[in-house]
């Protein structure tokens, strides 16, 4: 839950930069719907690298897998399992 909260908080910051204060669920599409863009994907990738130690150079970068809170959370889970 804490992980999802951290992700949600960061996504809210990104949306706030675009004056987008609309709420979003854990399954709501953010990139494919156009609410967030490629510059935000880069910011999100840096956040995930720093906060959760993810390495996109190793695991590959797919914007679709960053599209929702749930998808990001699963990706982090997958990444931490792979590191163990």
């Amino acid at each position: 839950m804490e992980r999802k909260e951290a992700i949600r908080k960061f996504l809210q910051t990104l949306l706030a930069r675009k004056s987008d204060a609309q709420p979003f669920s854990d399954d709501a599409s953010l990139f494919l719907s156009g609410r967030l863009q490629s510059v935000d994907a880069v910011a999100l990738a840096v956040f995930l690298e720093e906060k959760f130690g993810m390495d996109f150079a190793e695991m590959g970068f797919d914007q679709e897998r960053l599209d929702t809170v749930n998808a990001i959370s699963s990706l982090i889970e997958e990444s931490s399992n792979a590191r163990r």
């Binding site: 675009k18 004056s19 494919l32 719907s33 156009g34 510059v39 880069v42 679709e64």
Partner: protein, 497 residues
């Protein structure tokens, strides 16, 4: 490089704003639209889902495609093929991707390569088989060093093949065959790159569906419209309502492209080049090349007229392709969206040629940012931007025009490419600086309180001015040295006669 995407997929017209709306004059015109947002009217969407509605939309779209063809006195049968495809794909939405594959293959071998300077069907067939083979090999060896860098491996392999081919003896049959084949393979290169990116997806498409996105039936250039198979999978209409909305948006976009076309042909060109007598840019540049005199203000007028005219032409080109794509049930974003309103250089580039920018982001920017410049700290974004908008852009254009490599040889063609290389350097540095400025301004609250003129008018004017002047160097034909472009620039400032 990674500036905001031009439009939301859900609402094409309501693009995400990078800043809060400022008070503006003529705000009463804000809700005005040349073409109403019919896709938001429930009764229109409901009607578009009926057989009569679909038939009406298809008939109107066919009429529009016919008129667009007639407007340019073309006798190209492509509009007939496209409308037949759209009828089938509308009737069989559950088989959309399969129909797309079949349509694309018919298009490639019946129209696209058949209508080339000389038919290149064999080369196209070999290219597709080779692409399928590379795709399968990349899946098979996805854990190897090359397999983890499939796009870099593909591009390096293609560049080396071109380099080696340029050393084959002139007039030899192997060289002739190779330079007949390589441009065709090059036309599929970036489509294959998107397929290779899709390999890491959990639910990647099969090789057959990937091929359906290679030079698809709605048309394309070397730049994949709209990206690759993975993108099509994501933006495909999932139910009748989404299909209706996509088709209504497609119809609207075609209508808009026709309005722009009529404006360009019957208003802009007669007014600018006829009534006002502003010469075409090519003509004025030619005068500069042969050292014939012309006044500096004529140079400026022709450059600005060229810049604005090409913007409209380019919008029409992209709108036509995306309109057919949307009619097929894929809710793709527009290629060009209000570039003249861009407040930053990065945003202009994003709005001007969205799918080329996306190509460079996917093939160069992300790999550079996430893999190669990880330890560059605050320079990471800038370096990755230069890698994509600079190196990637130059790479794309150099290997697109392989006839020059055949004609001049590899190294002389590269030397002749100096003007465009300069263009990509200035462009990428401009975009990089623009992004850094954008990031800094996001942290400053006081900049948000500036007035409409400083916020909405001056930045777009400066940005458009930058791209207008840079157009002098947007030259890929390798026919004259960069000094001629600088000479023309000096002429604009009345520094040379």
């Amino acid at each position: 490089m990674s500036a905001p995407d031009p439009q939301s997929a859900d609402n094409q017209s309501d693009a995400p704003q990078t800043a809060p709306p400022a008070p503006r004059p003529f705000s009463f015109l804000r809700g005005f639209r040349v073409i109403p947002r019919i896709e938001t009217y429930p009764w229109v969407v409901a009607f578009a889902q009926t057989i009569a509605g679909k038939a009406t939309i298809l008939a109107l779209f066919g009429l529009g495609l016919y008129y667009a063809t007639w407007l340019h006195y073309l006798h190209n049968p492509r509009w007939k093929v496209q409308i037949c495809f759209l009828v089938v794909v509308t009737a069989l939405p559950e088989y959309r991707r399969i129909v797309l594959v079949l349509g694309t293959i018919c298009w490639a071998f019946g129209i696209w390569w058949q209508w080339a300077e000389h038919p290149q069907i064999i080369q196209a067939a070999i290219s597709l088989v080779l692409a399928a083979l590379i795709f399968s090999l990349a899946i098979r060896f996805c854990t190897s060093w090359f397999g983890r860098r499939p796009v870099a491996t593909l591009l390096t392999g293609f560049a080396l093949t071109v380099l080696l081919t340029s050393y084959l003896p002139r007039g030899g049959s192997l060289r002739i065959m190779s330079f007949n084949f390589l441009p065709v393979a090059g036309a599929y290169l970036w489509f294959l790159a998107y397929s290779l990116i899709d390999i890491s997806s959990k639910n990647r498409d099969s090789v057959a569906l990937q091929v359906g996105a290679y030079q698809p039936i709605w048309g394309s250039s070397g730049t994949p419209f709209p990206k690759g198979s993975a993108y099509l999978r994501r933006i495909e209409a999932k139910n009748p309502e989404q299909l209706a909305v996509a088709q209504l948006k497609g119809l609207k976009l075609l209508a808009w492209s026709l309005i722009l076309d009529v404006f360009l042909e019957y208003v802009y060109k007669p007014l600018v080049h006829g009534y006002l007598g502003i010469p075409y840019y090519e003509f004025v540049f030619h005068l500069s090349l042969i050292r014939a005199p012309f006044t500096w203000y004529i140079g400026w007028a022709s450059l600005i007229a060229e810049f604005l005219g090409k913007l409209v032409e380019f919008s029409i080109f992209g709108h036509r392709i995306i309109a057919v794509c949307r009619m097929a049930g894929f809710l793709a974003l527009r290629n060009t969206w209000r570039p003249l309103a861009s407040p930053t250089i990065a945003e202009f580039w994003n709005r001007y040629y969205y799918y080329f920018k996306e190509l460079l982001v996917d093939c160069f920017f992300y790999p550079a940012f996430l893999r190669y410049f990880k330890k560059w700290g605050r320079w990471r974004l800038f370096a990755s931007t230069v890698a994509a908008a600079g190196f990637g852009n130059a790479f794309f254009h150099f290997f697109r025009d392989l006839n020059y490599v055949d004609e001049l040889g590899f190294w002389r063609a590269l030397a002749g490419f100096q003007t465009y290389i300069f263009y990509t350097i200035v462009l990428s540095v401009g975009i990089g600086i623009s992004q850094i400025r954008q990031q800094n301004s996001e942290n400053k609250t006081e900049t948000k309180n500036v007035g409409w003129i400083r916020r909405r008018l001056i930045p777009p004017l400066c940005v458009s001015g930058f791209f207008c002047i840079l157009r002098i160097f947007d030259y890929t034909y390798k026919r004259y040295p960069i000094s001629e472009s600088f000479r023309f620039l000096a002429h604009l400032f009345n520094l040379v006669s």
